[in-house]
């Protein structure tokens, strides 16, 4: 047989993040199996080299070196938390590797060695926040995890609320790992917002929902991470997530033929999977995107592949709908679903936005077709103007 194309997989299969990330590994396995059944990539089989990073940044560093230097993989799919991505990115850059980050995150990575398939704030908030303000009112309270993702997301929320003529009733940041929310609940009641934006990360912080419900806070909620990542509506007893609105590019309840087909295949292979979340779908479609890139470049060489990306037409019909890679940022456009959690924790989709582009990096001045700064930017720390 032809020598295989090697795909390194570094995801957390144990530790803190396991609940949200085991599904990513499974999704990659599913896609690889399908591809290999139908003849591989350019006739070459796809071989997975998988390590459990144990929700530990230092493991990412160890294993990123290992897959690049020892296993000599062609591409790596790696990372859940942004910290883990930042831990391995210097190593990818140093060894001139090629990595996919298939995770929703705070945005801003402008690095030619990276392709990002996860959703970014402009995709999730430019849709979610105006909808919520129209539906419930203009007073907004943000409860966010106190680190890069939460702070930058909150910055986006603040900006969009302002642009839409609303006001921030309050903003509160919660250190990672905190599980007790009595004071925050009271703060929210004091501020009397029309709805609460919850940008809570990690399983401990998800305890907020149960505690808020039992204190009868009873406010609509909006989020870019919860439900789509940690399927809180499945884990907590109804009605604690009642009136939660989430913009996500995929969750298993999406009721399109493509989605149902994907879900069915997934469940057939992994019957005990607790939930097929958006990161699983990102990871699944990323394998196919990579296949397409290699086949069009006729090579696994990163420079050749980037020439393909630069053409701006690397697109596919994913389970969520059509997605395309943006050549400037190497991020991906998404179909964004507004998922609403009902009192019985059933999901409905009041609104769907198609082809929402990851526009911010490009507009801010990141253009990987021209220059590769290998850096992460934020709205308050944008790329230097040329």
């Amino acid at each position: 047989a032809e020598n295989p194309i090697k795909l390194g997989v570094l995801e957390d299969q144990s530790g803190d993040f396991a609940a949200a990330t085991i599904g990513k590994v499974h999704a990659i396995q599913l896609a690889a199996e399908e591809i290999n059944k139908s003849g591989g990539i350019m006739g070459r089989p796809l071989e997975l080299v998988t390590y459990d990073t144990q929700s530990d940044n230092t493991r990412y560093q160890e294993f990123m070196r290992r897959v690049l230097q020892r296993d000599k993989v062609d591409v790596v799919f790696a990372g859940f938390s942004s910290a883990s991505r930042e831990a391995y990115r210097p190593i990818v850059d140093q060894f001139n590797g090629f990595a996919f980050y298939n995770n929703q995150y705070e945005g801003g990575v402008c690095d030619g060695h990276m392709v990002v398939t996860g959703a970014v704030p402009e995709q999730q908030f430019s849709t979610l926040i105006p909808y919520m303000m129209q539906t419930y009112g203009k007073k907004v309270y943000t409860l966010a995890a106190d680190y890069n993702f939460g702070q930058i997301s909150a910055e986006w929320v603040r900006k969009i609320v302002k642009e839409n003529g609303g006001e921030m009733a309050g903003e509160e940041f919660i250190p990672l790992g905190v599980s007790q929310f009595s004071q925050s609940i009271q703060n929210i009641q004091k501020a009397k917002p029309d709805f609460v934006v919850t940008l809570l990360v990690g399983t401990a912080q998800a305890s907020y929902y149960e505690q808020a419900a039992s204190a009868n806070v009873n406010l609509p909620m909006a989020s870019s991470v919860n439900v789509g990542q940690g399927y809180e509506h499945k884990r907590f007893k109804p009605p604690s997530l009642k009136d939660m609105y989430v913009t996500t590019n995929y969750i298993e309840e999406i009721d399109t033929p493509k989605s149902k087909e994907f879900y069915a295949k997934f469940k057939a292979k992994f019957p005990s999977e607790p939930y097929v979340n958006q990161e699983a779908e990102n990871s699944y479609l990323a394998v196919y995107l990579y296949k397409q890139m290699v086949e069009r470049a006729k090579s696994t060489n990163r420079d050749e592949i980037r020439k393909v990306i630069a053409m701006g037409d690397v697109c596919m019909d994913a389970p969520e709908g059509k997605v395309c890679i943006d050549p400037k940022s190497q991020h991906m456009s998404h179909t964004i679903y507004l998922a609403k959690v009902g009192a019985d924790h059933s999901i409905s989709f009041p609104k769907i936005w198609e082809d929402i582009k990851p526009y911010w990096l490009g507009e801010a001045g990141c253009d990987l077709t021209k220059k590769d700064p290998m850096a992460q930017y934020t709205p308050s720390n944008p790329p230097p103007k040329p």
């Binding site: 085991i22 599980s179 004071q183 009271q186 149960e210 419900a213 039992s214 499945k234 884990r235 604690s240």
Partner: protein
């Protein structure tokens, strides 16, 4: 906003922080404070209690019975762990750091493999009540009362009962207790089981209010250790006042400047307390007494 509302809300927040600190710490106070065993698997005993509670409630038991099951399950695991591992380490308590760290890895990952990465919650009972502009969870009051009850029960157990005196004697000079006819192995087992059971109780009590995942124990660990250590060598004269002081600092700082300050304030309070009372709170109380 009227004064009564403000006062109540401050008390509620204090009670809430106090309950969390004390319930987290009690099991550890017995195992570390009394036995000198540094139990890094404390969080996993809590997780065990929470999981068993949730599982039994899903199976149809009412919550209080579920919590009881969680407590007993943890205590039983405690007996087993004591028998197989801890028993051999009393002579060298520092080695328990390694052993219990190992146990914690086994428990966390073992649970992930066997039960899965998450478990469905059971929902918080009792609903809410209103004071002034705010509504509060009734269950949080239950937690506070439970914390007080546990403290009282422990005090009585270790100071007023024969078991308590024998346990303290055994832990101080084991060979001498044996020479006086005390079955020290039994005492060790029971004491450890008591600590493990208390951890399980904390898990059971918090199970309805929290995410149930294999790593959930980690959220309790820092608070537990801090409370126990600044409480000092005597568990019962230490844990309650330590919980009180830390809860005031934590709830005060949190309401004033948010959770980050609450946490950092807690840590600073620890440093200050240790500096002012280098033998911990109970060391201070006991010196005053004699």
């Amino acid at each position: 906003m009227d004064i009564a509302t403000l006062v109540f809300s401050a008390l509620y927040q204090f009670g809430d922080a106090f309950a969390f600190l004390v319930l987290s710490a009690c099991g550890l106070a017995v195992i570390f404070g009394m036995m000198g065993v540094i139990n890094l698997a404390h969080g996993e005993f809590i997780m065990c209690g929470a999981y068993v509670t949730a599982a039994t409630v899903h199976a149809g038991l009412p919550l209080p019975l579920g919590i009881l099951c969680g407590t007993l399950a943890s205590a039983c695991v405690g007996v087993l762990v004591e028998l197989l591992v801890i028993r051999h380490l009393y002579e060298r308590p520092l080695d328990t750091i390694v052993a219990t760290w190992g146990l914690s890895l086994i428990a966390t990952q073992g649970t992930l493999i066997m039960v899965g990465s998450t478990m469905a919650g059971v929902g918080t009972p009792f609903g809410s009540f209103q004071v002034g502009a705010y509504s509060y969870s009734i269950y949080r009051i239950v937690l506070f009362v439970a914390a007080l009850a546990v403290l009282g029960a422990l005090y009585a157990l270790f100071n007023w009962t024969r078991f308590g005196v024998l346990a303290r004697a055994t832990i101080q000079v084991p060979h001498m207790a044996a020479a006086l006819g005390v079955d020290t192995r039994l005492i060790y087992s029971l004491t450890f089981a008591c600590g493990a059971g208390l951890a399980g109780l904390a898990g059971g009590l918090y199970a309805p209010t929290m995410t149930l995942v294999p790593t959930m124990g980690a959220t309790f660990i820092m608070e537990a250790f801090v409370t126990v250590v600044i409480g000092g060598a005597d568990v019962f004269l230490g844990t309650a006042p330590a919980g009180g002081i830390l809860a005031i600092v934590k709830s005060g700082m949190t309401s004033w400047q948010g959770q980050l300050f609450g946490q950092i304030g807690l840590l600073i309070a620890v440093i200050i307390v240790v500096r002012v009372l280098p033998k911990g709170i109970s060391g201070f109380v006991l010196r005053e007494r004699t």
